[in-house]
């Protein structure tokens, strides 16, 4: 694109996926809707389906800087806005430092402040918002809606120069409050079906042989279908497993397992992360093989 995507007369930027990230049509629409209507986009999905990666890819594809705020269980909404470093100020006052007179020297800007005052539009990723305290999303309502907040210490109002594209991810550990949900667009990334998965694998391992890929896909979906698994293997675990298979040079015959003595797919430690899951899987495979 030769025209500046941020000038007022240029066509609005659109997200069409990228070479290294396979996005389904509804996901692309979700990102474009969030861009055009300037609303936050809430992304949910099974762990390992590429929620965090989406923000990185969108930023790269649209040529916008990416700001990240990874939420922990101890995160408070205020930390995203700014923090007032009282202890430094007290210390400086003891030393007689001149900076003490102006309180704004001790205001540490948070991610939201930086995103609002950035000279160009940015992509702001709020990662794993459900990790924080239950009231955390409610504390951000006004900031997400109006893109502005009031700094009590310096009596100033910080307003967004350009509205950032806010992408929020959630692992569904907690119910998010309704008032928060109203203000966002919501998209659920479904676990990719076989075709999409094939595309994803081709993007990451373009030289992978077709028969190994087909066999690996089949084994993977079979493992996922085992009832009673505590944690189903996800996309990223599948890609890791493929990497291991390639590194160990395991061919598709080993995956089919008719000739080998082992009853579970090789290197299953990359797929099944839970002791109980491994036991369960071994038992089921053993039972099905002895019944044949």
């Amino acid at each position: 694109m030769h025209s500046n995507p941020h000038s007022p007369h240029a066509p609005a930027p659109r997200f069409e996926g990228s070479d290294s990230y396979v996005a389904t049509a509804d996901l692309k629409l979700a990102v474009n809707a969030a861009l055009t209507l300037q609303r936050p986009l809430l992304i949910k999905g099974e762990p390992g389906t590429g929620k965090t990666m989406l923000a990185e890819e969108v930023a790269a594809a649209l040529d916008m800087p990416l700001m990240q705020w990874h939420i922990k269980s101890t995160t408070k909404a205020q930390q995203g806005l700014y923090e007032y470093d009282a202890v430094s100020r007290l210390r400086d006052s003891q030393l007689g430092d001149e900076r003490v007179r102006d309180i704004s020297n001790y205001i540490v800007k948070g991610v939201l402040w930086q995103a609002f005052t950035a000279p160009e539009p940015v992509v702001l990723l709020i990662d794993e918002i459900d990790k924080a305290d239950i009231e955390f999303p409610n504390d951000l309502l006004r900031e997400l809606d109006r893109m502005e907040f009031y700094v009590y210490e310096t009596r100033e109002m910080v307003t967004a120069v350009h509205r950032p594209l806010v992408i929020i991810t959630s692992n569904n550990e907690k119910e998010l409050p309704d008032a928060f949900l109203r203000r966002c667009f919501f998209h659920y990334i479904k676990f990719p079906d076989k075709d999409t998965m094939e595309q994803i694998v081709k993007v990451h391992y373009p030289t992978l042989k077709q028969d190994l890929l087909a066999q690996a896909l089949q084994s993977f979906y079979e493992v996922r279908d085992v009832p009673g698994l505590k944690k189903k293997p996800s996309t990223s675990e599948f890609l890791d497993w493929l990497k291991l298979l390639l590194a160990e040079d395991i061919g598709p015959e080993a995956l089919r397992g008719k000739d080998t003595k082992s009853v579970v797919p090789p290197l299953h430690g990359a797929l099944l992360k839970n002791e109980q899951d491994v036991h369960l899987f071994e038992r089921l495979v053993y039972m099905s093989r002895t019944n044949r």
Partner: protein, 389 residues
């Protein structure tokens, strides 16, 4: 415009609001999507449905609303003539084809568009409108040799629509009582207190101390805020509770991590003279219930977890326990517990609908002053809300 669609969604119990609907209209005004039905489906879902648990309801409501309009929507863009010809060539016998040629394709197309404009609803049997099983030239399943099939369950014409695939059916099922969901419900039971090592800066205290210290910095620390609620959990084990082991386990593990001060004991069917901590050693290591009644302070929150399913005499009669011979009836012990710990609830893994049909459950519920809740997310929430008062 699309207002009926909005109300259809609302009727389907999807929590949609006017603001979201206006956002959807705004999005359409900005030409975000093309003329495709699929795109509209995705956009509507994006703007109006904020939880994947509602996705299936949305799919069904969408299919229901747009079912009749399906045909009209697609024939808005003109049906390509050669496509029509191919279809007809495949379906009709030579005589019918001759009969059709007589009428003329163009005239047929004109008549079709006219009718589509006139017709407002789906129609069945009959001779003029577009519908099914009739004799008019338009519709499907009919008998007019000059007819063109419109809409209906088609193999080639209408591919299975995205919302008809019902891809999100599984997500709508009763939410599993996962450990995390339980923790959220249990989190209502909070009573913060500051106890323990002092490792947080107490700003107000520091300012006050520094001021009274003539400006020399005097830093005051305070311990971090922690949830100091005291919980006593009594769990029913064995017998009829075996069916509910998975759920009770989840509740137990969630409670253990959520409440730092939690004490638990086991009983069987009803509380009697003894409780135990280790099920296997329940005959060797017993705790007299009196000790427990006296040991914990009155503001401890008491949670019973049990299905309250037994013969009524086990509760009401002395000697009713199946473990040993107890001198006082289970009901008396329960009453003592309720008296010693006025904040109590009983969580019952049996579904609420069966409670009235089991006598022991009604008896215990009455002793508990109706403070019995089912072991679902909703029941937990209600129970915890009651407990936290």
């Amino acid at each position: 415009m699309l207002i009926d669609f909005f109300f259809t969604l609302k009727d389907a119990k999807i929590p949609v609001t006017i603001k979201e609907f206006l956002t959807l209209l705004e999005a359409m005004e900005k030409n975000l999507i093309g003329q495709s039905m699929d795109d509209f489906y995705f956009l509507a879902r994006l703007a109006m449905v904020k939880d994947e648990a509602h996705y299936d309801k949305f799919d069904r409501a969408f299919a229901q609303y747009f079912k009749g309009i399906n045909g009209a929507f697609e024939t808005d863009s003109a049906i390509p003539l050669d496509w029509l010809l191919k279809r007809m060539a495949r379906e009709l016998t030579p005589e019918q084809k001759a009969a059709l040629e007589k009428f003329g394709y163009d005239k047929l197309m004109d008549r079709l568009t006219e009718l589509l404009k006139e017709q407002k609803e789906r129609h069945e049997g009959g001779g003029k409108w577009i519908g099914t099983g009739g004799t008019s030239p338009f519709g499907n399943g009919g008998t007019n040799p000059e007819g063109i099939r419109i809409g209906g369950a088609g193999g080639n014409r209408t591919a299975v629509k995205v919302w008809e695939q019902r891809a999100f059916k599984d997500y709508d099922a009763e939410r599993e009582l996962g450990t995390r969901n339980i923790k959220v419900a249990l989190r209502r039971l909070r009573k913060f207190a500051r106890e323990g090592a002092e490792d947080e800066l107490a700003l107000d205290a520091t300012i006050r101390a520094t001021a009274s210290n003539a400006g020399y910095l005097d830093i005051k620390m305070q311990p971090e805020r922690k949830n100091k609620i005291k919980v006593l959990m009594l769990l029913d084990v064995g017998g009829s509770m075996d069916d509910h082991i998975a759920r009770t386990e989840e509740l137990f593990s969630a409670a253990k991590t959520e409440f730092k001060n939690m004490e638990f004991f086991y009983f069987h069917n009803c509380v009697y003279d003894y409780l135990w901590k280790n099920n296997r050693r329940r005959n060797a290591e017993r705790f007299p219930t009196w000790d427990i009644l006296r040991k914990y302070p009155a503001d401890t929150k008491l949670i019973f977890v049990g299905d309250a399913t037994m013969s009524p005499y086990e509760v009401l009669q002395p000697g009713g326990s199946v473990e040993y011979n107890n001198e006082e009836a289970g009901a008396e012990w329960l009453a003592r517990f309720c008296h010693a710990f006025p904040k109590f609830v009983w969580l019952n893994p049996e579904p609420e609908g069966v409670w009235q049909y089991r006598q022991s459950i009604s008896v215990i519920k009455q002793i508990m002053n109706n403070r019995m809740f089912p072991l679902t997310i909703d029941g937990l929430e209600r129970g915890m809300r009651l407990l936290s008062k």
